[in-house]
């Protein structure tokens, strides 16, 4: 295993003439929890979309687990072990919680069309095992609702947790969380920080999160990268980043630092 689960170099994304991500270098050490922060519109989600294969970067390379992801379809990258959640929850609304998780096992399940039609013993065992695993993951992530309930009928918090459970079903090496605490109150956010740590340790994976809530970011991440209008402006530990002049400026706004006096 290499030390870097992800090594992105010189990533550039342009839409028309607009530069959304501007030659960003970004590494994630295996087993760490890192955060990508920056104001709205700084290009964080765009960067996620490049990693997961939704966008093709205009320039730059991404190595994931020692292999380049260029030219791979999103489902192939997912099967390599990159799982994500979404800023706006994107569960399969009219499928049950269990089914949602089981969809993400697609790449790992072997039962094909014929085995399914004839209900071969192997396929049945596999389905049962998958269902059990799904229930375990749902438990593990602390989804309180009925696992046989439709995802859309779960509470907001449960939906967020179910998204993580679904992502974990991919058996990811790298888990990408896109603003996981958006819409949570401070108590829920605190619980979430503990949960992310638990996931990392129990599943032995690496976590990359996009966050807005500085408290969450500072509480959970070992390294922080700050993006601002598509460019990387700072990188380091929480302390380092917090002390960084440019970060303060980007977050508090110049107007505040000047005008308030």
């Amino acid at each position: 295993m290499s030390d870097l689960i992800l090594d992105a170099s010189q990533i550039r994304v342009e839409f028309g003439g607009l530069v959304a991500v501007n030659d960003v270098d970004f590494q994630i050490p295996t087993g760490s929890i890192v955060a990508l922060i920056g104001p709205n519109g700084a290009g964080k989600t765009t960067f996620f979309n490049v990693l997961t294969g939704l966008y093709r970067s205009t320039a730059g390379t991404v190595m994931f687990d020692g292999q380049p992801i260029a030219g791979r379809a999103p489902h192939q990258i997912a099967a390599m072990g990159m799982a994500r959640t979404f800023q706006n929850i994107r569960l399969f609304g009219t499928m049950t919680a269990t089914e949602n998780v089981m969809v993400a096992m697609h790449a790992h399940l072997k039962g094909g069309l014929w085995q399914t039609i004839f209900g071969s013993p192997g396929q049945r065992r596999e389905e049962q095992a998958a269902r059990d695993t799904a229930h375990e993951l749902i438990d593990f992530c602390g989804v309180n609702g009925d696992p046989d309930e439709f995802a859309k009928n779960l509470s907001y918090g449960d939906q967020r947790r179910l998204e993580v459970a679904r992502a974990l079903a991919l058996r990811p090496k790298l888990l990408l969380l896109d603003e996981p605490t958006a819409g949570m109150n401070p108590q829920e956010s605190d619980d979430f920080i503990a949960f992310v740590r638990r996931v990392r340790d129990a599943k032995q994976l690496t976590v990359l999160l996009i966050e807005h809530d500085m408290k969450v970011v500072m509480g959970v991440s070992e390294r922080i990268t700050v993006l601002e209008y598509g460019s990387k402006i700072a990188e380091g530990t929480g302390e380092e980043v917090r002390a960084n002049e440019r970060v303060i400026e980007a977050y508090l706004g110049k107007a505040a630092t000047h005008g308030a006096t």
Binding site: T45, T46, H75, Q87, M102, A104, L113, R124, E127, R166
Partner: protein, 396 residues
């Protein structure tokens, strides 16, 4: 049987229903020919076996289209293409049409003349072949078009549904080779052979032209098999992937579901049912007529799926049976009754399109999930104003 994890399967009443519904369906379905026996009687006038056989055929089509539209959420307006391939496959392989092959090939067939030229295969061999031919056609049609947006996909499938019949209509002389016999169609085809059942005392080599009872049992059996396939697939890995794609294609692909392959499977399986239905239709009518294959067919089958309830197998069966009956018997008989009672002369079947059109529109406006909505749709009455926002950050 695998446990289906639809909400609330745990309760006793639900469990009972899970056994009772299929049992009732089987008993009811099997008893139809014994009920409808007296020629000219009320039940024969209103529920003739000829129509019941057609109901079976349309159930098959509806279940096939349901896989594509209901399960996977891909709007196919050219389903007639698969019907066509199934029917012509039977026409080619169960008749003397290819008279160039002389002496003919005869395999377990029931040709009237055992020395007739052409390819004469048993219906039971033709069924899987028709399924495969149609499935391959489905994949070929699907492959270049499945990455299109939903409404464009509908248009392209419609295009194929228009081109193929025209090609077969004009396929009388392709460089001198007669592929389809043009507007004259192919026929007569060999009768349905039931010889393989002779040891039970039921079967006979070839069933009589008027033996709708046997025909009914055959299509009923074929339907039961495909119903089982539909139900099993829905609960398996592939079915989940279809539903996921229907719900949110992008999220599905990010969860490791290969979009193209999964959609092509839906096309293939759905087309196979069309092929089987087509082959049976051909044998049941004793030939193929190219004019059978029109856009209206595709829409009527779509109506059946929608009326019954998308993605719900039993709903689809109900939708198919009701609309087929209305189409072939109900409308005529209701018209007759009305005219007899009131002394009018309204030709009710003339309003067929009107009725189908109104059914479609009203269903879309007031009961989008059909008469028997799939359990998972019941809750979706309320439209989520989900905001598609992924990736808009930075694009503005």
């Amino acid at each position: 049987m695998a446990v289906v994890t639809t909400p609330g399967t745990g309760t006793g009443a639900r469990r009972l229903r899970r056994v009772a519904v299929p049992a009732l369906f089987l008993i009811g379905g099997l008893s139809v020919p014994t009920v409808v026996t007296n020629v000219g009687a009320f039940e024969d006038r209103w529920f003739p076996l000829t129509t019941m056989v057609l109901c079976g055929i349309f159930v098959m089509f509806t279940l096939g289209l349901n896989i594509v539209v209901g399960y996977a959420g891909l709007l196919d307006l050219g389903y007639v293409a698969f019907f066509l391939f199934g029917a012509y496959t039977a026409g080619w392989l169960m008749s003397s049409f290819f008279f160039q092959i002389d002496p003919g090939i005869h395999i377990f067939d029931a040709a009237i003349n055992p020395d007739s030229p052409g390819i004469n295969l048993s219906f039971w061999i033709v069924v899987p072949i028709a399924a495969v031919v149609a499935a391959i056609a489905g994949v070929i049609i699907g492959a270049p078009t499945l990455r299109l947006k939903s409404d464009y996909l509908a248009l392209v499938t419609l295009g194929f549904g228009e081109i193929l019949p025209q090609a077969f209509r004009n396929g009388e002389s392709i460089k001198g080779f007669n592929l389809s016999n043009g507007t004259k169609g192919i026929g007569p085809t060999n009768p349905l052979d039931m010889g393989w059942l002779s040891w039970t005392g039921v079967g006979k080599d070839a069933i009589n032209v008027f033996d709708y009872k046997t025909r009914y049992y055959v299509i009923f059996a074929l339907c039961v098999i495909f119903i089982l396939i539909s139900l099993r697939l829905r609960d398996g890995k592939l079915g989940r992937a279809w539903l996921a794609i229907r719900e949110d294609e992008l999220a599905a692909s990010l969860m490791g579901v290969p979009l193209m392959r999964t959609k092509l499977w839906a096309y293939g399986v759905g087309a196979a049912a069309g092929g089987i239905g087509g082959a049976f239709y051909c044998v049941s009518l004793g030939g193929v007529q190219v004019d059978t294959f029109n856009f209206q067919f595709s829409v009527i089958v779509l109506c059946m799926v929608i009326l019954g309830g998308m993605a719900n197998v039993y709903g689809c069966i109900l939708g198919a049976v009701i609309l087929t009956w209305v189409n072939y018997t109900g409308m005529k008989e209701i018209g007759n009754s009305v005219n007899n009672t009131f002394g009018t002369e309204i030709s009710v079947p003339k309003y067929q399109f009107l009725i189908f059109g109104i059914v479609l529109v009203l269903m879309m406006l007031f009961r989008r999930d059909g008469m028997l909505p799939a359990a998972r749709q019941k809750h979706s009455r309320e439209i989520d104003a989900q905001i598609e926002k992924i990736g808009t950050e930075g694009v503005a």
